[in-house]
Amino acid sequence: MARITAGVATSHVPAIGAALDLGKTQEPYWQPLFRGYEFSKRWIEQQRPDVVFLVYNDHATAFSLDFIPTFAIGCAASFAPADEGWGPRPVPVVEGHPALAWHIAQSVIQSDFDLTIVNRMEVDHGLTVPLSLMFGQPQAWPCRVIPFAVNVVQYPPPSGRRCYELGKALARAVESFDEDLNVQIWGTGGMSHQLQGPRAGLINREFDTRFLDRLVNEPEALAAMPHIDYLRDAGSEGIELVMWLIMRGALSAQVREVHRFYHVPASNTAVGHLVLENT
């Protein structure tokens, strides 16, 4: 039987990918950030997940305004890194897990979450930067990845409550898959940041710290936080954090926080990172 063993949350700032790809990780600006992931890289080497269910958002790359799916599950056998304007990132092609992805799609839709099924999709930094942070720069990614794209560009994104409940449905779907698989769920994006308008550059360490605490210890209550609180306190792009609630919803009620990291800034953004194990 497949089972979800752990969750990872991390920001997915594009400049982090550029720093990695251009060999700048040892520069004074970037060094403290990459140091924050050293534990996680050792940890995941021991954990050896078979599949990562990776919750992220597309940034006007695979989805324009022609189609705006709220929740889209990638069921393809592989997903190529997208050209976001500077050529594709020099990272391996992402190998999917069509059998598990289709199983999850059918199961979750029957639990009243109306997913969009995607059979062809390129993946942008939202998906590849977390893989780079956790796995470094291998020739091939060491596990299969199911991309799960959430709309957080067109307002309104799904509510925190909806995301949290979806996470629970995902966990049930994974547990009903017959093959013996070690599955991790990752939630990406955030933390506080605003990329647009005169208020660009907003960072809210206090909000972020409280969000991390509550995500670990009182996710039910955190899931009730309305969009306006994210927009006001975490910035217009900080609303990406609703995706972390999908990850948390898929984990057990009590989790072990084995690692936490927080750093300001990466370009325009506060970087947050958690490693949580199911109990």
Partner: protein, 131 residues
């Protein structure tokens, strides 16, 4: 009944909601077209002619030509789409963010290194957000 827009009073912030997306569809899809290298070449060769291929308003076209990002946002642009324009110009997200705040890029970068813009403080250049 009008939609509830409790975010309309957040200073210096335009939420890309249904209204903005409706206004900005063609502007944003023009931006999206710059994902293709051939289109970037054609745009750079004659920006006005390229813009005239799109059913955008004259105000939207003028905002693009002037690289007035706050203006483009007010007219329905979304920052992830507008990013294709400054990427075409070879500019970074931090360059564009600084421009929108009215700060120099050096001052903006220094603000970020010092922990970013405090959430409680209104931006220096006060411009209306939604509504």
């Amino acid at each position: 009944m009008p939609l509830d827009r409790p975010y309309a009073d957040i200073p210096g912030t335009t939420v890309f909601d249904a209204e903005q997306s409706r206004l900005g569809y063609h502007l944003n899809m023009f931006c999206m077209s710059l994902m293709k290298a051939d289109n970037r070449v054609r745009f750079k060769a004659d920006e006005r002619a390229y813009l005239d291929e799109w059913p955008m308003t004259e105000a939207q076209k003028q905002a693009v030509l002037a690289r007035d990002y706050n203006g483009m946002i007010a007219l329905g642009g979304n920052i992830y789409f507008l990013a294709k324009v400054f990427a075409t110009d070879g500019k970074s997200f931090q360059y564009a963010a600084a421009l929108m705040t009215g700060m120099s890029q050096a001052d903006y970068a220094a603000m970020m290194l010092n922990g970013g813009r405090p959430a409680g403080l209104a931006p220096a250049t006060k411009e209306p957000g939604n509504g």
